[in-house]
């Protein structure tokens, strides 16, 4: 199954990373190579505890990537992913600890807040016509500031113990239930983009807004819906961190999520120009990021060089992607346009 989904488009430069499915195999191979290197250099890498911890942080990275991917599909972006995430985290803490609501209600409230903040982003973008970058840059600061003013940056440490227990749970000894949830979200997104009218409309609006509007796609509404989805996914990622820590910390998310949110989708083959998504690619891209982070940790190279590695990998990925598509274009057309 060719997993990169997008409407058949005649525009030549809309070519997915490393040419679709084969690209994802290539990416998977890169992940495998890193696994081989790390497990050879540090036997601790394959210990059941490390694999478990790796799966748990992978779950968060995947959902953060999805949160960015759903707006990249419309040709926009969301710099507020980390801010919405932390707002949801603190909202959950407030609802569970201060109001004493049941866990399901607290988490639902947090997801709802995420969706509402996403809606604000989408609404402002559609109403002003200003590009998503600047709106979400400003709203990221606005949301984070409001959260800090309201909570005074005091963490919620007294959450119900079931939350931490769920975060520590292991299935079959090495699999975190969080990873299962992340994969389930991925499956739902595949269904959305492949099999539903809404999903196809989102991709059509991202590929060519004018053409989509002429064929009756409510472009504005589709963009707002994508931002709501992005907000809810960011909130979900935040809640995953809450279960992992067993507490709601104000230092979750923020600008730290910015790079990972783009790394997963872009490595996986989602185009910044919109009109395509690669759900499985985003998951493999996130796997590469998590693997490198975990490997460097096990090798005790430390977090300091991690940023350099991630930056270079992102750079490498977009450059390879670019030269692949230029090469393919030349071969198929004969001349460069």
């Amino acid at each position: 199954m060719s997993e990169t989904t997008g409407p058949a488009s005649p525009v030549r430069n809309r070519r997915p990373f490393l040419g679709g499915a084969s690209g994802q195999v290539g990416l998977l191979a890169i992940v495998a190579i890193f696994w081989f290197i790390f497990s050879t250099l540090a036997p601790g890498f394959l210990s059941s505890f490390n694999l478990y911890a790796l799966g748990r942080s992978l779950a968060v990275d995947i959902v953060i990537g999805f949160s960015q991917m759903v707006v990249l599909a419309t040709g926009g972006m969301n710099l507020a992913v980390g801010s919405i995430g932390v707002c949801a985290v603190m909202a959950a803490g407030f609802l569970l600890q201060d109001l004493g609501l049941p866990i399901s209600v607290g988490f639902a409230g947090a997801l709802l807040l995420g969706g509402a903040l996403g809606w604000l982003n989408g609404f402002a973008i559609v109403k002003t016509g200003v590009n998503a970058f600047i709106i979400t840059l400003a709203s990221a600061s606005l949301f984070l500031g409001a959260m800090l003013i309201l909570t005074k940056a005091v963490p919620y440490n007294g959450l119900p113990p079931e939350i931490g227990a769920f975060g520590r749970a292991r299935l079959f000894g090495i699999v975190s239930p969080l990873l299962i949830i992340a994969i389930a979200i991925g499956a739902a997104l595949v269904v959305l983009y492949r099999f539903t009218a809404l999903g196809r409309q989102i991709l059509a609006a991202g590929a060519n807004p004018r053409a989509a509007a002429m064929s009756g796609v409510p472009v504005d509404r589709v963009i707002v819906i994508s931002h709501v989805l992005s907000g809810m996914l960011a909130a979900a990622a935040g809640l995953m961190v809450v279960t992992r820590l067993g507490a709601a910390m104000p230092a979750t998310g923020g600008e730290e999520w910015l790079l990972p949110s783009f790394l997963g989708p872009v490595l996986g083959g989602t185009l910044l120009s919109g009109g395509s998504v690669a759900v499985i690619g985003t998951m493999i891209g996130a796997a590469l990021v998590t693997t490198i982070r975990s490997g460097l940790l096990v090798l005790q190279i430390g977090n300091f060089w991690l940023q350099l590695f991630l930056g270079l990998i992102l750079l490498f990925a977009v450059l390879v992607d670019r030269y692949r598509s230029v090469y393919a274009e030349r071969r198929s057309v004969g001349v460069k346009s």
């Binding site: 002003t128 200003v130 600061s141 606005l142 800090l148 003013i149 600008e255 930056g311 750079l315 450059l319």
Partner: protein
């Protein structure tokens, strides 16, 4: 209403009004505002912010953006401090070297963006991470503390309310105004930003102009970093970590077009003054510092909305 219309067209008129009103309000409400020392503190905090805003402004002018302004600042700050403390490079040599490092980072950004045609956002997001990684890898987040006395004095001393630190931004502002108004590369930069296709047709090299804008941006971020080191008295690896929002806030509140082709040196300067005024007012009024973050976000949204409203009103849209 020809006068009002004219006033609307000058993009920074609203800013000037806001600054005057804000200052009067603060002067009346808080007796500490008009003291010589407070004005010195405000002017001193304004210096780094202005250069950070300029560093983003030049890339916005050519229709690009530079996410790595802060990362370049951090890398330059620790290189600058490191070469003086660890390698014993004299100050007079370290300053131009530091600016050259910033320009080199900008050159990397510019060449990668212009040669590949890849979205500048994603390129500079990647290089920002790489520059920060080098910074943290070298320093392991430990600052360089032993800065030359001359540098610390330059960052600290003042003539009445006038900090010596302010000399640098004044010179840079004048040069930038000259650059955009009177020089061929400056005009070409805005031409490429305004209409790349038309610029191409008139024989301007788009690649070279984009590279130039990024080199300038890196150089300006480097000057900001040097000033930040002087102001703090030590080379902190965390310098630049919080520049991203400010770097966009200043030129956008100052009226720069997000799509490129139009920037305002005066507008950006006034925007940074307004931001410094707000921060200062918050401190004097003992307000939670988190409000600054909130207000800065709100201010950008208001400016974006105002710019659109003005464009519609004056019929320039």
């Amino acid at each position: 209403m020809p006068f009002l219309r004219r006033l609307l067209i000058v993009e920074w008129s609203g800013l000037a009004v806001a600054i005057v009103l804000g200052s009067v309000l603060l002067a009346v409400l808080t007796p500490n505002f008009m003291t010589e020392y407070n004005i010195y503190v405000m002017l001193r905090s304004f210096c780094v912010g202005l250069l950070v805003g300029f560093a983003q402004m030049v890339t916005l002018g050519v229709g690009q953006m530079n996410i790595s302004v802060g990362a370049i600042g951090g890398l330059v700050a620790i290189s600058f401090g490191g070469m003086m403390e660890a390698l014993g490079v004299p100050l007079v040599l370290a300053v131009p070297l530091a600016i050259a490092i910033g320009a080199l980072c900008g050159l990397i950004n510019g060449v990668l963006t212009a040669r590949t045609g890849i979205n500048g956002f994603i390129i500079t997001l990647a290089t920002a991470s790489a520059f920060t990684g080098i910074n943290l890898g070298i320093t392991e987040a430990i600052p360089f503390y032993n800065m030359p006395a001359a540098l610390v004095a330059f960052g600290d001393e003042r003539f009445f309310a006038f900090p010596y630190l302010l000399i640098a931004p004044i010179i840079v502002t004048a040069l930038l105004m000259l650059f955009f108004a009177r020089t061929v590369p400056g005009r070409q930069l805005l031409a490429v930003g305004g209409n790349p296709h038309a610029a191409d047709l008139s024989g301007i090299s788009r690649e070279r102009t984009i590279v130039l804008a990024h080199v300038l941006s890196g150089g300006l971020a480097a000057i900001a970093a040097v000033l930040a080191v002087a102001q703090l008295g030590s080379a902190q690896p965390s310098i630049g970590a919080d520049w991203l929002l400010l770097s966009f806030a200043a030129p956008i509140i100052g009226g720069a077009a997000l799509t490129g082709g139009y920037v305002s040196v005066v507008g950006t300067t006034l925007a940074v003054i307004l931001i410094a005024l707000i921060e200062n007012g918050m401190v004097l009024a003992n307000v939670d510092p988190y409000w600054v973050q909130f207000l800065l976000g709100a201010l950008i949204l208001a400016a974006v909305w105002l710019n659109r409203w003005r464009a519609v009103k004056t019929g320039t849209d």
